[in-house]
């Protein structure tokens, strides 16, 4: 088993991320999915969850919502099975490297599984199934909230906002109000931590829903806080349906490895310390807007996955660093001990083995978007042609996508999704 761990610890799935990125940047998710499946045997059992998450997202990009959800469910079941601390994994991570641990996803990745599964169900028109995911979001976030630590990810504003919209769609006004409130609190934190402001549409939703539920005092408080009047929101929406467009932009950042070699002076042994870091890719500033019925509605950023990922790594880095140092000292001590006991060759082999196996854990769910944008548009019932436009810094249109004959029903929400990958030529390194 030790040899298996060693061999497994060397291979990692992050090499395949290059091919995936290439295919996605060329706007060809089918090719990315094929290459992922071809490499599936190379993905060690420890990375099974990652393989499933990437597969589910690629299926979603192709519009295969049912298949995508099946894979998401498999991923969830596997993560569930991996609950708890594994004795062998702990040992492995201290004597070999962090890659011996099964990947269960960061906290924000686990919440986003439910978010994207819910979006899949909403695209299929299965509002009740989406509601199940909304309940899960609440359960999971409450559990995360119990671990009160500074700066750690304990609330997901967009997940709460989406859950609120799901409840509002089911006419469960009180539950929707509760979720919108929590989203509002979370967005105030988002503004400080990630620079994502409270979406204008959420402010409108809070005003509208507090009026609907009869919380007039709260509504007036929001009016003063937002500097907004209740407005004609309810009247405008009367007799209409709603289009909710969720735009996933780009890809989540990729982790790379940073290594340093240290020659311990007293023992003359060479050890290596490898730490992960997020590669900074300056994506072009892109805005998005929706064109429908002769009107132009700008989209708002509702989630900065990239910023959350970077912050998560930053808070976990002390622990990663401590483990790396502990590992280096253990490996160095073993090599030194062997060398000084007339087992010079074995000592050198142990030293080399220690160097070769020292790898940083660069695993992450790379097919997640880097940002999520949203627009809520009340529309008259019937068929509409929707146009999505991506704009650059100078408001020039760099990409366009058309959605024809989208049906809007009275008093119902229609969810549309699109995942736009920034083409290579627009990147500056």
């Amino acid at each position: 088993m030790g040899i298996a761990l060693l061999a497994g610890a060397c291979a990692t799935g992050s090499n395949s991320s290059y091919t995936l990125e290439r295919h996605l940047a060329a706007q060809k998710p089918e090719r990315a999915l094929k290459s992922l499946e071809q490499q599936s045997r190379q993905w060690a059992r420890r990375d099974q969850v990652l393989y499933l998450l990437n597969k589910a997202m690629l299926l979603r990009m192709q519009g295969e919502f049912v298949a995508s959800n099946e894979i998401f469910e498999q991923a969830k079941q596997r993560i569930d099975k991996l609950y708890g601390v594994s004795v062998t994994e702990q040992i492995g991570s201290v004597i070999i490297n962090d890659l011996t641990r099964q990947y269960v996803g960061e906290e924000f990745e686990q919440i986003l599984i439910h978010v994207f599964e819910a979006l899949n169900y909403l695209a299929l028109g299965q509002a009740d199934a989406a509601r199940v995911e909304a309940l899960h979001i609440d359960l999971k976030l409450r559990q995360l909230g119990k671990r009160i630590e500074k700066n750690k990810y304990t609330e997901d504003a967009f997940a709460r906002y989406l859950a609120g919209m799901i409840y509002e769609g089911q006419r469960e006004w009180s539950d929707a109000m509760i979720e919108y409130r929590q989203a509002y609190v979370a967005y105030r934190v988002y503004k400080k931590e990630y620079g994502v402001p409270v979406p204008h549409s959420l402010k409108q939703d809070l005003l509208r829903l507090s009026e609907r539920v009869g919380l007039t005092a709260e509504m007036e408080r929001y009016e003063t806080e937002f500097g907004m009047e209740r407005g004609q929101d309810m009247e405008i929406r009367d007799g209409k349906g709603e289009l909710i467009f969720v735009l996933s932009k780009g890809l989540a950042p990729v982790k790379r490895e940073n290594s340093i070699f240290v020659l311990v002076p007293q023992t003359h042994t060479l050890v290596k310390v490898s730490l992960p870091y997020y590669q900074s890719r300056v994506a072009p500033a892109v805005a998005a807007r929706i064109r429908v019925d002769g009107e132009v509605i700008p989209m708002e950023e509702v989630e900065d996955v990239r910023a959350i990922a970077i912050r998560t790594l930053k808070t976990k880095l002390p622990g990663i660093r401590a483990r790396a140092i502990a590992r280096a000292s253990i490996k160095g001590t073993v090599a030194y001990a062997l060398k000084s006991q007339d087992n010079w060759l074995l000592g050198v082999l142990a030293e080399l083995g220690g160097l070769v196996t020292e790898r940083a854990d660069t695993r992450s769910w790379i097919t997640l978007p880097s940002n999520i944008f949203l627009a809520r548009i009340p529309l008259a019932p019937g068929k509409h042609n929707i146009e999505l436009e991506m704009l650059d810094r100078r408001d020039a249109v760099i990409a366009r996508r058309e959605f024809r004959n989208v049906t809007i029903n009275k008093d119902r929400m229609t969810f549309l999704s699109h995942h736009w990958i920034v083409p290579q030529h627009l990147f500056f390194e």
Partner: protein, 202 residues
Amino acid sequence: MKPARTPGLRLVAVLVVLVMAGCGTSVQRMDTEKVKDLSGAWNDTDSRLVSEEMIEDVLSQPWLRDFTRKNRAQPALIVGGMRNLSHEHINLNTFVADIERAMISSDKVQFVASPTERGSVRTERKDQDLHAAEATRNPMGQEIGADFMLQGTINTIVDVSGTKQVRYYQVDMTLVSLADNRKVWVGQKKIKKLVKRSKLRF
């Protein structure tokens, strides 16, 4: 030395065979009535327990006697839809099918096809209208209208703390009269489970 080595080797061979036998997939057929709870999620046992109790309850209530006495015929029921308001993706179709089958075989009520089912039936009937021989065709417009609609919801309350989870399921079903909108029967079944996860694993 040599004779002492072979027994050791045999032992190793036996152990290897035993270990290999443990690897690979094994399939064991089970009795459908047997209870086996694996993950704590809603399973076939829950579906069976709820449907059995609901059927027993619905067929023994006065609404059935009143209807049969008044109309001298069995009531016709239609399944209006079960809503899953729980926190699990529960397949309600097996559950509803269980109830339909048990109620039809009790010979006290009749069921008519639900909106999803009768689409294909109507297409076949229309086809018969055009193509089947006069003596054998089933004309359109002869469907029996349902007298009652069966609806239901399944709700859950979950309480989580660390490795322990208490899941409470409540299945509510109602029978609504299509003639005058009265709720003639309300059934309820509660199930509570304690699920413990291990903090350590291999």
